[in-house]
Amino acid sequence: MNGAETKAVAFFTHSAAGLLLAMASALFLINLTAPVHLVQPHDPIFGMSLRSLFWIIGGMALWIAFFCLFSDRPVWSLLWIAWLAANFLVCRIALYWTGCRTLAGFLGSYPYAFGISANAANALASLIFAYLLIGSLLSLAWRVEGKFVSKFCVHPAAGTSNSPLKISANKSHARTAELPSPCANPNS
């Protein structure tokens, strides 16, 4: 991976962490500020109250966000983000299959807490998860491609790419060029 790609991936990881933290905060805030006797609909897949589901999803988003921000393993961060976004996609497909075309019906608390309509909240959620899914998959692809290039392609500073010696040198370079942690302190 070159420097621009590394920066792009770092930007994505940070932005994803920010979005996940915002999402977790929103879900927690909805649960905490809801009227005492508000009844939330049940999640059609797991059958649990939406309130419980919000705690679970918010907790997971919080965990992944902190992992993205403070972990030394950026690949794992990307994998976690991709896993969460893929889960959302699978749930949307499952819901669509059962006849649920929009999540607006389950996001009735958003207008109460944030003054936006349920349809807007639905669109926002779809955008965020699309960004997370596409971003994480692209980043992972870059990462895999970078490794692939490092492993089998000629290093600009080395001789021919099929020299075992050069490959070894490339391997060594690839290790050092391992994606730096987005927030890694250059002095540490």
């Binding site: 940070h14 962490a17 920010g18 979005l19 933290l21 915002a22 977790a24 905060s25 929103a26 805030l29 500020t33 009227p35 005492v36 006797h37 508000l38 009844v39 609909p41 049940h42 059609p44 966000a65 902190f66 921000l69 403070f70 030394d72 819901l95 059962t98 006849g99 649920c100 075309r101 929009t102 999540l103 607006a104 019906g105 389950f106 996001l107 009735g108 608390s109 207008p111 109460y112 807490a113 944030f114 003054g115 936006i116 309509s117 349920a118 807007a120 987005p182 927030c183 890694a184 302190n185 540490s188």
Partner: protein, 595 residues
């Protein structure tokens, strides 16, 4: 742990994002809170503190003394229900408060038992400390308790036969009598005929229980007028309805009856003259038949039987009290802003629970001699600080079928800076008519027009079409925001709201439903937004209880319809427990102002 802390410290960008993202969300939430109507909390607190003056046909209140100088009345309180005594206009004293929390808030267990003929005492029935049914005798001048007698059940109706003799009936129609001997009130004793196990009283509720003379009481059960003495072998049927001629109500003053009937030609009122044998009433003869309009009701003798008064909902105002003091004076009319079902007549005055000038319903006294109306027991003791009284307007339009439709509408009270206002079209439940209501006031105080239709003579199948006709008429107004038209319903009115949502789902911004009792298939109302407030112990849902609205909410969510559902645990249908009222109002007003 230390290394984790070090790692977090070493990444300032991560820390910044970790702090900034939640802060931005909180900020967004605060902005949303700021966008809610100003003074929402105060408006809800003030309106939610308005209590209900009991004014039931079966449990008449207020109860004035014969001289019409003092008053006993029932009113809900913050914690239950209270029996109040008023010895002067504007003054009140709480004699007894039944603490009944939220569960059985609307199940009134107190009943007023009237004043002794000499006004020296009055009595009321109560449920004491959730264990004992009691009859309490109070001093007529001070309201102080002078005697308490245990009885075994709720007192449904009572009549004083003399200062020392009180007759009453329980909810099953069994009559009791109690006497005062040596300054002590005896335990209640059943009338002779009710001691006979073979006698089965009618199952209908007792209405109009009144003393005919010192030994006899008369009352109506269904369409039959009865009379009975303590030692009678059986109650006497004075008048029995037939399929062609039905007794609807009666009034008695000094052995003279006035009754309202319905026959094939419509309704009429007439005098009933008692027929006596051996000094006892055995029947009545009907005379002086006068035809009346449908919508004129509660004919009551006043002024010692010289005149009469009645209520009518025919005309521009929700209700009119008509008083004809005697044959020599023309009738006086009093326009009441609230629909009332009942009034109580004393010797010199008539008492009615209603409002005249956009204020919460209070007890109004109409002096028979002068015709002056005075509020003797206002509902709220202090005027509202934040709530403003909206202007009530009555209008009549003609619908597509050429029928006149009357509707009442309240203008927004806080309208200085905004040129267009949301519109809320209200459809009330069965048997509910327009009256001052905290719900309507809340809509107007949160910046919306509120419209309610007059539904007298209108079948429930016509309510939705009527509401739509009124909407079409009002939508032409320049100050009406047609992008923000909400539907509001209480109880059975929800059926009509769902009908409107089905016909024009895109037209309405949302529906606010209090205690809805039926739900449509969500796929029939696509694109709706619904706010529902239900009570947890609503008998309308049968054994399934709250699963019914929750199931509708789940089905609606799958159909993409957000349903904000509030359920107040343990409360009965459309409970008016103040705590629930405040929560209901607050959440409904927030829903009204959401984008």
């Amino acid at each position: 742990m230390y290394s984790l802390f070090q790692k977090i410290r070493s990444r300032p960008l991560g820390m910044a994002i970790a702090v900034a993202a939640p802060l931005m969300v909180v900020l967004w939430h605060l902005l949303a809170l700021a966008a809610r109507p100003a003074h929402l909390g105060k408006i809800v607190a003030e309106l939610g503190s308005v209590m209900e003056l009991v004014n039931e046909y079966l449990n008449p209140s207020p109860c004035p003394n014969h001289a019409c100088t003092k008053l006993v009345f029932l009113e809900t309180t913050e914690n239950g229900a209270g029996v109040f005594f008023s010895d002067a206009p504007g003054r009140r004293k709480l004699l007894f408060e039944e603490l009944c929390g939220g569960d059985d808030y609307n199940l009134l267990k107190e009943s007023l038992m009237g004043w002794s003929p000499d006004d020296a005492f009055f009595a009321y029935g109560r449920y004491y400390k959730s264990s004992d049914w009691q009859i309490v005798f109070c001093d007529g001048n001070t309201g102080a308790e002078v005697a308490v007698v245990r009885c075994n059940e709720f007192v449904a109706a009572a009549a004083w036969l003399s200062p020392e003799c009180l007759a009453f009936a329980n909810i099953d129609g069994v009559l009791y009598i109690m006497r005062k001997n040596n300054d002590q009130w005896t335990r209640p004793k059943t009338f002779k005929c009710f001691r006979n196990a073979s006698y089965k009283p009618p199952t209908e509720g007792i209405v109009g229980f009144t003393a005919f003379d010192a030994n006899t009481v008369v009352w109506r059960q269904g369409g039959t007028l009865f009379a009975c003495s303590e030692d009678s072998d059986a109650p006497v049927k004075l008048w029995e309805s037939t399929n062609d001629d039905t007794l609807l109500e009666f009034s008695l003053a000094r052995s003279k009856f006035l009754a309202r009937f319905r026959d094939a030609q419509g309704e009429y009122f007439a005098n009933l003259y008692p027929q006596k044998e051996n000094g006892r009433i055995v029947g009545v003869t009907v005379a002086n038949v006068t035809r009346i309009h449908s919508g004129e009701f509660h004919f009551t003798l006043i002024n010692h039987g010289e005149g009469y008064a009645y209520l009518t909902d025919v005309g521009e105002s929700p209700c009119t009290l008509v008083v004809k003091p005697d044959n020599s004076h023309p009738p006086m009319q009093f326009q009441l802003q609230d629909q009332v079902q009942n009034f109580v007549a004393g010797e010199h005055a008539i008492y009615v629970v209603s409002s005249l000038h956009d204020e919460p319903s209070g007890i109004w006294r109409c002096d028979l001699a002068s015709g002056a109306m005075e509020c003797v027991a206002p509902n709220v003791e202090k005027p509202f600080a934040c709530v403003r009284n909206p202007r009530l307007t009555t209008d009549t339009i003609t619908n597509g079928a050429g029928e006149p439709l009357t509707y009442y509408w309240l203008s927004p009270t806080h309208s200085a800076a905004v040129t267009k206002h949301p519109l809320v079209i209200g459809i009330l439940g069965i048997g509910q008519y327009f009256a001052w209501s905290v719900n309507f006031e809340a809509f107007a105080n949160c910046g919306a027009f509120f419209v309610s239709l007059d539904r007298h003579q209108r079948d429930s199948s016509q309510w939705a079409d009527d509401a739509f006709a009124v909407y079409e008429n009002l939508a032409r107004r320049p100050d009406m925001d047609t992008n923000k038209v909400f539907l509001f319903a209480e109880s059975a009115g929800a059926f009509s709201v769902f009908e409107l949502l089905e016909k024009n789902p895109k037209l309405w911004r949302g529906a606010i439903l209090f205690s809805p009792s039926s739900f449509p298939e969500p796929s029939q109302i696509p694109g709706s937004r619904i706010f529902m407030d239900n009570c947890g112990d609503d008998k309308a849902f049968g054994a399934e209880g709250m699963k019914v609205p929750m199931r509708f909410q789940d089905a609606a969510a799958l159909a993409g319809i957000p349903v904000t559902l509030i359920i107040h645990p343990g409360l009965g249908h459309a409970s008016s427990w103040p705590v629930a009222v405040r929560e209901r109002l607050r959440e409904a007003m927030i829903f009204l102002n959401e984008n």
